[in-house]
C-alpha cells in the first residue's frame, strides 16, 4: 500500500493547487483550484458554496493528538491502550469509515480481521452506494459521464440535488453539455418525483408530487403499465398521482434514447428503503426491453462508496461482516452496528471516521457508554460519553492524501492543501495494525 503525496510547501507564500477533490458530498468534484496562503485556503475556485465554506473554514486545531479517558496523551500511549482494548474484547465492533481514504479503510478491515471482530459501515444506514437490492435483482447502471453524455431523459426521484449535491446538475446531469447532447438542458427532459416541491423542482419539466411512503407503489404501477397491465385505480389514491399522468410518463420514458433514474435520500434513507430501491432496479431493468435506461443512487456521502468497495474486495461483502469465526460472514441485521448495539452484542467499539451518527438511537448511545470505545476521527466527537481512547487525525483531502470513490464507484486521488499537526487515519491505523500483530505473536 502506498500513498502518493506531494509535500506540502513549508513556505507561507501563495500556492495554487489545481485538480483538488472535494469530499464534502458524494459528488467528489475533482476540479477545484485551491489557493493556499499561511496554511489557510483563501480561495476555492469551481467549488459550490458548501464546498467553498468547507475549504475556507478549516480551523487550525490545537487539541491534543490523543486522549485516554479524557486525559491528554501521545499517539503511542493511546495506541497501546486501543490495542489492549481490541485484543481483550471477545466481540469488538469496527464501525464508520465513510469519512476517510480507502487506504485507511483497507487497514481498518485488516485490523478487524486480525482481532476477529465485526466490521460495518455507514452503508448499513443508507449512506453508501450499495444495498441489498443489487443482491436480489442486480442493477443496470453507469458512470456519471454516461448521464452527462447520453441521458436525454432524467428522473430525479426522492432527490434534491440542488440542495444536497449542488454541482450534480451542472457537472454530471441535467445542465451539462454532453457528447451526444450538445445543447445540454435543451436536449433533455427532466422530472422530479418527490413528496414535496423541493429546491430542485424549479429546474424540472413537470414535478410529480408523490404521497409519502408510496414510492414502491408508484414504481410497481409503472412496471405494470410497461407490461401492458392495467393497474388497480386505487393507486391514484395511494400515490396521489393521476393514472393518466403515470401512463403519459411511461410513454415518454419508452421514447427516450437513454434514460436515467437518479434516486436520493428520499429513497435510500426512508423506512423500507431496500424495497424501494429494488422496485427502482426492477423498473429500470424492465425499461431496457424498450430502450436504454439506467439508475443510480446519488445520496452517498464522503467516501462511503470506497468503504463498500474495500469491504467487498477484501471480505466478499459490502458491509455487516463478522470475522468472529476466523472467516468473513455476512448478515445484515445481525451484523449491522445499530442492531448490535441495541442488542448489546459487542463488548468494545472502534469508531472510525463515522461522520454524524444520526441513525443511532438513544439506546445505542446509552449502551456505548457501558463498553470501551475507541474513537478515531478528524472532527468533533460523536459520543455523549467520553471515549476510552480518542485519537485525533488530520482530515482526508484537506491534510492527507489517498484515494476516494465517487458515488458511481469512479476512484479519485486526493490533493491535500494544508499541513496538520496530526497523523492521518491511515498512519494511525497502520500503527495500530503493527502493534496488534506484535501482540498476537506474543500470545
Amino acid at each position: 500500500m502506498s500513498l502518493s503525496q506531494e509535500p506540502i510547501p513549508e513556505t507561507n507564500k501563495l500556492k495554487v493547487i489545481p485538480d483538488a477533490t472535494c469530499t464534502h458530498c458524494g459528488c467528489l468534484c475533482d476540479d477545484l483550484v485551491l489557493s493556499v496562503e499561511n496554511n489557510k485556503v483563501v480561495e476555492a475556485t469551481n467549488s459550490c458554496e458548501a464546498g467553498k465554506t468547507y475549504f475556507l473554514n478549516q480551523q487550525t486545531q490545537d487539541e491534543p493528538e490523543a486522549l485516554i479517558e479524557g486525559k491528554p496523551t501521545t499517539y503511542p500511549e493511546a495506541i497501546d491502550k486501543a490495542v489492549e482494548i481490541l485484543l481483550a474484547a471477545k466481540n469488538p465492533l469496527t464501525y464508520g469509515l465513510s469519512e476517510t481514504t480507502t487506504e485507511a479503510q483497507r487497514v481498518a478491515v485488516a485490523i478487524t480481521d486480525w482481532v476477529g471482530g465485526i466490521i460495518d459501515t455507514t452503508t448499513s444506514i443508507g449512506r453508501g452506494s450499495s444495498g441489498l437490492a443489487i443482491q436480489e435483482v442486480g442493477e443496470v447502471t453507469c458512470s456519471l459521464g454516461e448521464i452527462k453524455n447520453r441521458a436525454d431523459f432524467i428522473i430525479y426521484w426522492g432527490a434534491n440535488p440542488v440542495k444536497n449535491q449542488p454541482r450534480h446538475l451542472s457537472r454530471y446531469s441535467l445542465l451539462a453539455e454532453g457528447e451526444f447532447l450538445p445543447n445540454g438542458r435543451k436536449d433533455r427532459t427532466a422530472i422530479l418525483i418527490d413528496v414535496k416541491k423541493n429546491e430542485t423542482a424549479k429546474e424540472m419539466d413537470p414535478f410529480l408530487k408523490v404521497k409519502p411512503g408510496s414510492d414502491f407503489e408508484l414504481a410497481w404501477t409503472m412496471r405494470a403499465l410497461l407490461k401492458g397491465i392495467d393497474p388497480d385505480p386505487s393507486v391514484e389514491k395511494k400515490t396521489g398521482i393521476k393514472l393518466d399522468l403515470i401512463k403519459n410518463l411511461i410513454d415518454q420514458m419508452k421514447d427516450a434514447k437513454y434514460g436515467a433514474i437518479l434516486f436520493g435520500a428520499g429513497i435510500t434513507h426512508s423506512p423500507g428503503n431496500e424495497l424501494n430501491r429494488e422496485s427502482i432496479h426492477l423498473l429500470t431493468r424492465d425499461l431496457n426491453q424498450f430502450t436504454r435506461w439506467v439508475s443510480r443512487p446519488i445520496s452517498s456521502q464522503g467516501n462511503a462508496t470506497g468503504a463498500d468497495n474495500v469491504l467487498t474486495w477484501s471480505t466478499g461483502y459490502p458491509f455487516a461482516v463478522s470475522m468472529g469465526r476466523g472467516y468473513p460472514r455476512f448478515n445484515p441485521g445481525e451484523f449491522t452496528a445499530p442492531g448490535l448495539l441495541a442488542r448489546k452484542e459487542v463488548d468494545a467499539a472502534f469508531m472510525i471516521s463515522t461522520g454524524p451518527m444520526l441513525n443511532f438511537t438513544q439506546a445505542d448511545q446509552e449502551y456505548l457508554k457501558t463498553i470501551p470505545v475507541i474513537e478515531l476521527s478528524s472532527g468533533v466527537s460523536q459520543f455523549k460519553a467520553q471515549p476510552s481512547v480518542s485519537l485525533k487525525s488530520s482530515t482526508y483531502g484537506i491534510h492527507s492524501a489517498g484515494t476516494v470513490y465517487r458515488m458511481d464507484h469512479v476512484s479519485l486521488p486526493l490533493r491535500p492543501s494544508l499541513k496538520s499537526p496530526y497523523k492521518s487515519e491511515f498512519e494511525i491505523l497502520k500503527m495500530i495494525e503493527e502493534k496488534v500483530l506484535i501482540k498476537t505473536k506474543e500470545k
Partner: protein
C-alpha cells in the same frame, strides 16, 4: 542475500529444451542463477526434491480477478460464497471468501496454492484502473497486471473516422502510461457502443457503429496496427464479436483474416468456435477443426481456450450486450454497467450442466481446441476465470488432457448427440508433462512477452512449482509440494509460508508528446474527472516492473 539450492528434481523447462531431466536449480535474490562453478559454494538452504517434478510457476494470461466488474460480481452473489470453501485467517494470512469470485486475499492464496505465480486480469475499463490497482495490491503473492479495454473507445473511433491513425497510436501509448496497464484489449469492437446507445448489438464486422461512422473491422485493424507498431510485448488481445452465438466461427475467422498477418491473441476462443444457426439450437455444433487449421498454419495468431467445466459460476464480461443476452437466457439477476467513453460490462450468474446439450458441447469444444492445435506454444490454458469455470479447475483440465480415458468417462455422462456435433470422441491425443508445462507456463509467458517468466534458465524470476508425482494427475496438480515466488518459499503442501505481495507489470511505449494536446482537449470536453486525476502516479502503483519495449 540467501542462496538456495533446489536439488535433484526432474525439470520440465520447455523454453530451455529441458524435458524431464534431473538437474539442480540455484536461486539468489529472487532470480535463478547459473550453478556456481566452485564446488565450495554452500547454499543457505537445500530443498531436496529428488523424484519430484519441477516446473516454472504457472502463468494465467486471461482471468478476471480485480477491478469494478469483479468487485460488483462479488457483491451481487453472496449466496455463491455461503457454502463455498472458507479461507480462514492464520497468524500470517488474511481471511477471505471464495465461490466463483474469491475475495482478493483469497485469490492470491488460491493461485499460489495451485502453483500459479503470475496472473493477468483481462478487462479493466481505463477509468477503473486506479480501483484495479488497489485490488491487485490486496491480492498477495502473485505477480500481476491487466489489459485495458479499448475496442469501444470514443477517441479511438473518432480518430479512425477522421483518418488520423497516428493519434490512435499515441492515444493507446498514453493510455498505457496513464493507467499502468500491460496490454491492449478489444472486446466486441463497436458492439458495446451500439449496446450503450441503442440496446442492440453488432453482428457483422462491416456494420457501422452508432454515432461513429466506423466498423468493427476498422477498429480492430487500427488498434492491432498501433500495437504492432508500438512493439508492445503482448499483441492485441481480442474478444471477437458475436461471443456465444451459433455460427460465430465465421466472425472469428474473419477477425483472424482482418489482422492481415499482424500478431493477434484471440481469447477464450472456445466461446467463438460455434457453427449452426442462431435461431435453431439443434444445429449448434463445433467448428474447431477449420479454425484450428487456420491457427496451425498462421504464426501470427495465438489463442487461449476459455474452457467450460460443469459447475456454478459467474459470467462477467466487458461485453455489455452479451450480459443482456445471457440475462434473457438465464432469466436471473443481471448487472449492467456502462463506463463513459470507454466500455460496458455485464454480469450474470450461470450454471453449466452436463445434462445440457449446449453446455456439454461447449465443454467438448474447449477440449477440441487443446487437442487440435498442433504447436502447444500457440495455445494457453484458461477458463476465462470465472466465465467458463474458476481457475481452480486447471488441475482437472490437465488431467483431461493427459488422460484420454478420463475424457471418455465424462463423455459418457453428457447428451450423446454431442458426438455428432464435434470431433472430441475421435481425438486420441494425450498431453505429456512437457506439453502441460508449455500451455500453463512457457507459452503464456512467451505470448505475453515476459522473458523472465515461464522458464527456469539463469535470469528468470525464481517462480518455481514442485509437484510430487502421483497416478491421480488432478491431485498431483492440485497440491504442489513447494511453490517459490521471486525466490521465496511461498507455499508448502497447500499452506502459505510467506504472504509476499508480488508486483505489477506495466509497459510505457513512447509517443509524440505533441499529440497529447488533442487527447487532453477531447478529454476535458467529455469526461467527468480531471485529466490530471486520471493518470496514476508511480508511487500509487507500489511494487511494479516496467517491461521494456524492444526496438530491434
Amino acid at each position: 542475500m540467501s542462496l538456495y539450492l533446489i536439488k535433484g528434481g526432474t525439470l520440465y523447462d520447455p523454453k530451455n529444451n529441458i524435458d524431464g531431466v534431473q538437474e539442480d536449480l540455484w536461486i539468489q535474490d529472487g532470480k535463478i542463477i547459473p550453478s556456481p562453478k566452485s564446488q565450495e559454494t554452500k547454499p543457505d538452504k537445500i530443498y531436496d526434491v529428488r523424484s519430484m517434478v519441477v516446473m516454472p510457476g504457472g502463468v494465467d494470461m486471461h482471468c478476471h480477478i480485480a477491478g469494478p466488474k469483479v468487485n460488483t460480481a462479488r457483491k451481487l452473489m453472496p449466496e455463491d460464497k455461503r457454502n463455498a470453501l472458507k479461507i480462514e485467517r492464520t497468524a500470517i494470512t488474511r481471511s477471505g471468501t471464495t465461490g466463483s469470485v474469491p475475495s482478493t486475499f483469497a485469490t492470491g492464496y488460491l493461485y499460489a496454492g495451485l502453483g500459479y505465480t503470475t496472473a493477468f486480469d483481462a478487462a479493466i475499463p481505463p477509468l477503473g484502473s486506479r480501483h484495479a490497482h488497489e485490488e491487485l495490491q490486496d491480492t498477495p503473492i502473485i505477480d500481476k497486471g491487466f489489459y485495458v479495454l479499448t475496442g469501444n473507445n470514443h477517441y479511438i473511433m473518432k480518430k479512425i473516422q477522421s483518418g488520423e491513425p497516428h493519434l490512435v497510436k499515441s492515444y493507446l501509448a498514453w493510455l498505457l502510461h496513464a493507467t499502468g496497464g500491460y496490454g491492449v484489449k478489444v472486446v466486441n469492437p463497436g458492439g458495446v457502443e451500439v449496446w450503450k446507445s441503442t440496446g442492440g448489438n453488432i453482428s457483422g464486422m462491416d456494420e457501422s457503429v452508432t454515432h461513429f461512422d466506423v466498423t468493427p473491422r476498422q477498429i480492430l485493424q487500427a488498434i492491432s496496427r498501433s500495437v504492432h507498431e508500438m512493439k508492445l510485448p503482448h499483441a492485441v488481445h481480442i474478444h471477437c464479436n458475436n461471443l456465444g452465438i451459433p455460427g460465430n466461427a465465421s466472425t472469428t475467422l474473419e477477425t483472424m483474416h482482418a489482422l492481415e498477418g499482424a500478431r493477434g491473441h484471440i481469447t477464450h476462443i472456445q466461446f467463438h468456435s460455434y457453427g449452426g444457426h442462431p435461431d435453431d439450437q439443434s444445429t449448434f455444433c463445433s467448428r474447431v477443426p477449420e479454425l484450428a487449421d487456420y491457427v496451425n498454419s498462421h504464426d501470427n495468431i495465438s489463442v487461449d481456450v476459455g474452457q467450460v467445466m460443469f459447475s456454478k459460476t459467474t459470467s462477467m464480461t466487458g461485453d455489455g450486450p452479451l450480459g443482456y443476452f445471457l440475462h434473457k437466457v438465464m432469466g436471473r439477476k443481471w448487472y449492467s454497467g456502462d463506463t463513459e467513453l470507454e466500455a460496458g460490462c455485464g454480469i450474470v450468474p450461470i450454471e453449466y450442466k452436463n445434462k445440457s446439450f449446449v453446455h456439454s458441447l461447449q465443454w467438448a469444444i474447449g477440449l477440441e481446441w487443446y487437442l487440435l492445435v498442433e504447436d502447444p506454444w500457440k495455445i494457453a490454458m484458461s477458463t476465462d476465470h470465472p466465465n467458463g469455470a474458476a481457475f481452480l479447475a486447471y488441475p482437472e483440465i490437465i488431467a483431461l488432457l493427459m488422460d484420454r480415458q478420463k475424457r471418455e468417462e465424462v463423455l459418457k455422462t453428457v447428451p450423446q448427440k454431442i458426438k455428432d456435433h464435434c470431433t472430441l470422441a475421435d481425438l486420441h491425443r494425450e498431453y505429456s508433462l512437457n506439453e502441460i508445462a508449455i500451455i500453463t507456463r512457457a507459452a503464456p509467458a512467451k505470448i505475453l512477452g515476459l522473458e523472465n517468466k515461464g522458464h527456469l534458465g539463469p535470469g528468470a524470476d525464481a517462480d518455481i512449482t514442485i509437484y510430487n508425482p502421483q497416478d491421480d494427475l488432478q491431485k498431483m496438480f492440485e497440491i504442489p509440494r513447494y511453490v517459490f515466488q521471486a525466490g521465496e518459499l511461498v507455499v508448502e503442501d497447500g499452506e502459505i509460508r510467506t504472504p509476499s505481495s508480488g508486483k505489477v507489470f506495466c509497459v510505457r511505449p513512447e509517443y509524440d508528446q505533441e499529440h497529447l494536446k488533442d487527447i487532453n482537449s477531447w478529454f476535458d470536453k467529455n469526461y467527468t474527472i480531471q485529466f490530471n486525476n486520471y493518470k496514476i502516479d508511480d508511487a500509487f502503483l507500489g511494487a511494479h516492473e516496467i517491461i521494456s519495449i524492444k526496438h530491434e
